[in-house]
Amino acid sequence: MLVRIDPTSDIPIFDQVAGSIRADMVAGTMRPGDKLAPARELAAGLDVNLHTVLRAYQLLRDEGLVDMRRGRGAVATPAAGALSQLRSEILELAQKALALGMSPDSLAALVRDSLRGESG
């Protein structure tokens, strides 16, 4: 798995970590049944607090993308595999938004709003 964080960003680090892992699931490099790196090692590699990584893993667990079992560590669920269905649409959307000169944040806000409309 590829995890990238930018300490200067306004987005909380644990959110960035979770986002990176979600991106791996969308890209298909993290498939159902794949183990996530041990939180301790990932924290050491990123030079962040262990609890930051654990919080990211818990967020993914709450979203149903990751299963956490004692002794087995964190494992990607079938729901993580379903995320890869979004891949081409996300790439297309991002490219169109880029062509329109939209900032990533405003695109994210638009997507969030549209989701609120769907569920409301």
Binding site: M1, L2, I5, D6, P7, T8, G45
Partner: protein, 336 residues
């Protein structure tokens, strides 16, 4: 670019790994079939440690083994390596594998033909002389032809098939990135190891029940060594981060590391374990170290001194891109 001597490399290799073993085997078979009628039935086909015959069977065993091993092994080597050479792969390993195949073929042909020859005209196979001088002679012939095969072929400048150095991924200043992945053995490798392990456990239990305690302990000891070896060389945790590339066996040892400032080039290229490293697991050959747990795409990293580290790990493209980018950032950071 294809070097001018390349067709000669491939031609000489094909002669060593295919044509000569075929010639050797054909000669051996001609002699064996001419002599088979003069050999006692059953013939001596196995000799004990002291050199006296202790196993008897049909004389056609000799030509069968001559073909099966003497021709089968070179064929196996040729099938895996020749297509790679024809597509442009080069390396000392190919030269060595071809010579080894010829040597093995010559050894099997000499051993089996001489075993038939020395039993001609015997009334009973039990009178067959010791096989030890034959064995030594066969070994000498095998070594001679193996060395001959080595010098028959030209030197090969190492060249990897479909090698693509990574251009590196884009990194924001101050961005921290980690890539982690576990490289594990292909399914068939795990099955094979499990079968061997189960067989040894079964044999140890049988020996224990039968009362052969020494044999049981011997088997348990061997099993422990095999299990330790498998654990040390079948699962590796591979990581690319600010420390560079690290590959650690599941057991914690062995550990291989390439620091960022020692990375000359990183990329992805397919690897064939048998053809390029002579097998699987943690391998070393002149100019390269390999964690080769399957065939296919592998992370390939060249150090500043030219040595290469090959790791068969999934998503090697990301690993190579990150390693290249981090190495470049280290180099510019130091003003080099």
């Amino acid at each position: 670019m294809i070097p001018a001597e390349s067709p000669r490399v491939v031609r000489r290799y094909a002669i060593t790994v295919l044509a000569l073993p075929m010639l050797v085997t054909a000669t051996a078979l001609t002699l064996q079939f001419a002599w088979l009628g003069d050999v006692p039935n059953p013939a001596a086909i196995h000799w004990g440690p002291s050199g006296t015959p202790d196993g008897f069977g049909a004389a056609w065993t000799f030509p069968a083994v001559t073909v099966g091993l003497g021709l089968g092994l070179p064929l196996l080597v040729a099938i895996t390596t020749l297509p790679m050479l024809r597509r442009g792969a080069r390396g000392g390993t190919f030269r060595f594998m071809g010579s080894l195949a010829l040597g093995m073929s010559a050894f099997m042909a000499t051993l089996n033909t001489a075993s038939v020859g020395m039993q001609r005209g015997l009334a009973s196979a039990a009178d067959a002389p010791s096989v030890v001088p034959t064995m030594l002679a066969a070994f000498a012939v095998g070594a001679l032809l193996g060395v001959g095969g080595w010098f028959l072929q030209p030197r090969q400048q190492a060249q990897i098939l479909d090698w693509e150095p990574s251009a590196g991924m884009e990194l924001a200043p101050g961005e921290r990135v980690v890539w982690m992945r576990t490289a594990s053995m292909a399914r068939w490798g795990v099955i094979m190891l499990s079968v061997i392990g189960a067989g040894m456990v079964g044999a140890a239990i049988t020996a224990w029940i039968v009362g052969e305690l020494a044999v049981a302990w011997y088997l348990v000891g061997t099993l422990a060594v095999v299990a330790l070896g498998a654990a040390m060389a079948s699962i590796f945790h591979v990581r690319v981060d600010a420390d560079g590339l690290t590959a650690v066996a599941a057991l914690g040892l062995p550990r291989l590391r390439v620091p960022l400032d020692d990375v000359a080039e990183a990329g992805v290229a397919p690897v064939n374990g048998f053809a390029e490293f002579g097998g699987y697991g943690l391998r070393a050959r002149p100019g390269a170290t390999g964690i080769v747990l399957r065939n296919g795409n592998a992370l390939q990293v060249t150090r500043k001194n030219g040595r290469r580290l090959v790791i068969t790990v999934d998503d090697a493209v990301s690993a190579a891109a990150l390693l290249t980018a981090l190495a470049a950032r280290t180099a510019t950071g130091k003003g080099a």
